[in-house]
Symmetry: C2
Subunit: 359 residues, 2 copies
DNA sequence: CGGCCTTGCGCAAGCGCTTTCTGTCGCGTC
DNA sequence: GACGCGACAGAAAGCGCTTGCGCAAGGCCG
């Protein structure tokens, strides 16, 4: 690298490079853009000029003149939420692999902001915008998603939904789900197999599809094992550490410990429940067995048996599908739908229920 | 909102809106852009046309013709790393508050990729690019940062460093640090005050500024309290859960428990150490007291006394300073340097050392 | 050894928007 | 009642780049 003679005053343009290399702008553009025959000698001259001028292309001009902008956007509630951060990570990785840049926007869970951002992404010409986070799937929701998808589609973008309920077949979008029901089925089966029949379920949330899927899987396992579901063993409440703690504490204070195991709706809730249990003199898994859901860091910290969700792959799959829709389009309708498997991770929070009846 | 007569074939442009509203493009631009007198009636016509055509501006064209692009970029190792996620969150928030979009790029800790991304950001015309993550501050590092800062500066961007060592005064950049030394001083003082004089320090890493700061604070506290530092109580190793576990385990297996408290370089290391301790039959805080650093989720989960770092504020401060450099520029030199305070968070992992004082 | 088909390059027309620079009114002023 | 000025709107010149089209060489054929 030779000493730059030209102390760039502002910023070198294509024209400057062309002048310096003694060729036309088109040539420079083609050398840089590739995919066009160029004499080795010319190429070298151009490259040298670029070097000397410390030329950097203007992405906006390029996007304007050429095709689009090679950008993918992800709207999350907050990247500080572990679950979403993992997904964002996957999105970012796949975007990078596909030579795209990744715009991350936090909606704070506010539908208004989500809407505003989608509009913004339209302006940006993002190739794909992926939405993360559970949501209540009412009529208004579907109407809004349809509108988004179509608007985005018209602009050549693609809408991708992760962990959200599927849309109508004719809505041009990518939907990537994970198997909440199946994971819960596996978790409860595991408990059942260990002899636990009185299982406390923490975190029933009607209308919230993720939570509903988990409860459904739990119930199905119970049924398949011929264990009657006891309404009193299903406690309603949000996911999360604090709710988990509170649900558990309330249950402990209001009644007997008539269960030998607990299925917490998500890992943080399990962590909260464990704390409440401990404050009540109960140990996991010595006194009570516990399984969680999501496989977050806390689960491995606590040695918690839980259900693994392929977070990163969710993100990757979403952008992969959205970007290469040309292939996926084969599905006739605009909707591309994938459901990824979840997997039971066995650690040390479940012990066989010794006092169980032999079945 | 009336039914759209015009089913946009592709995407409406400014020209289309102008035509539909019966005015010139300039007028539409001004109505939309604001900051220019416009007759109420005209404005209304334009707005209606925009609505009917579902017009969305082209951000790239706007960036090209107008000023810049209203974008801020953050380069992190990974958003899946809690510490960095919090900072990213702060960056994103402040960017949004300042009407900017936030580009997030994962470098995976690879300097090469960091470099490539900075170049990319130059193309994007990002107003500011913030770098997160500790690093060994050798000569090459400084040279590289200087080069980045100057290149970005020439393009009208601004470089911001979070948690990295300060640069030369003449390098145009924003540096936001947090007080590693002070936090460690507070943590060790706390331990000392509780009667602990034999404190095991986990995580010495020569050359790594963050770690060095913490150790320095620890040592200074020891000195101030008149406690002689014992080389054998300082164990070298990386931060993180696994290293913490391993350091602790190795120490436990190789020698006596000749300490009553432990100062772990960061919370994950503390968590790992706690696990190793437990496997060794030692309880925290019953048998050994423990303090960590960073105040991550795991600390609150474990009831760990630790040092809080204002993660989000670090991110916010960095972009705020970078964006409003005009004000900050008053500092003559290009360098803007801030150091944010850290704070001791007392929880339940430290117990007074009863057998102390009267040795 | 000339016509023809590459191969390599330049010309110029935009991409969709912002922003001067010019007007063109309509009204208050002396 | 002519003049000046403020409030608006239009024309047009780019912003920096990509790309279709056309044209010059050089290598191949017959």
């Amino acid at each position: 690298m030779t000493e730059n003679v030209t102390a760039a005053p502002g910023r070198a343009t294509l024209r400057d490079v062309a002048a310096r290399a003694g060729v036309s702008m088109s040539t420079v553009s083609r050398v840089l853009g590739g995919g066009y025959p160029t004499a080795a000698k010319t190429k070298e001259k151009v490259l040298r000029a670029v070097e000397e001028l410390d030329y950097v292309a203007n992405a906006h001009a390029r996007a304007l003149a050429g095709g689009g902008s090679k950008t993918v956007a992800i709207l999350v509630g907050s990247v500080a939420i572990e679950f979403q951060a993992y997904i964002a990570q996957g999105v970012e990785e796949q975007a990078t692999d596909d030579k795209h840049l990744c715009l991350v926007c936090s909606t704070g869970g506010d539908p208004e902001r989500e809407l505003a951002y989608i509009q913004l992404m339209r302006e940006q010409g993002a190739r794909a915008v992926v939405l993360v986070g559970t949501v209540v799937a009412d009529e208004a929701y579907h109407a809004r998603m349809r509108q988004f998808a179509q608007a985005l589609d018209a602009a050549g973008s693609r809408l991708a939904l992760i962990g959200r309920p599927p849309l109508a077949r004719d809505v041009p979008a990518v939907v990537v789900e994970f198997d909440n029901e199946g994971g819960a089925y596996a978790a409860t089966s595991h408990l059942l197999t260990q002899g636990h029949e009185r299982i406390l379920y923490l975190g029933k949330q009607p209308g919230q599809t993720t939570a509903e899927g988990r409860l459904a899987g739990h119930l199905r396992a119970l049924a398949d094992f011929g264990v009657e579901a006891d309404e009193s063993l299903i406690v309603a409440g949000e996911f999360g550490r604090l709710p988990g703690y509170q649900m558990m504490k309330a249950r402990l204070e209001s009644g007997p410990v008539d269960f030998t195991a607990i299925f917490a709706g998500d890992d943080p809730a399990a962590a909260g429940a464990i704390q409440a249990l401990r404050e009540h003199g109960l140990r996991v898994p010595d006194d009570v067995s516990m399984v969680g859901y999501d496989d977050l860091a806390v689960a491995s910290d606590l040695g918690l048996t839980t259900v693994h969700i392929p977070h990163e792959e969710l993100g990757r799959a979403a952008v992969r599908l959205a970007l290469h829709q040309a292939d996926a389009r084969g599905e006739e309708s605009g909707l591309v739908h994938r459901k990824l498997a979840t997997q039971l991770i066995v650690r040390d929070s479940v012990r066989p229920n010794v006092g169980a009846r032999k079945r």
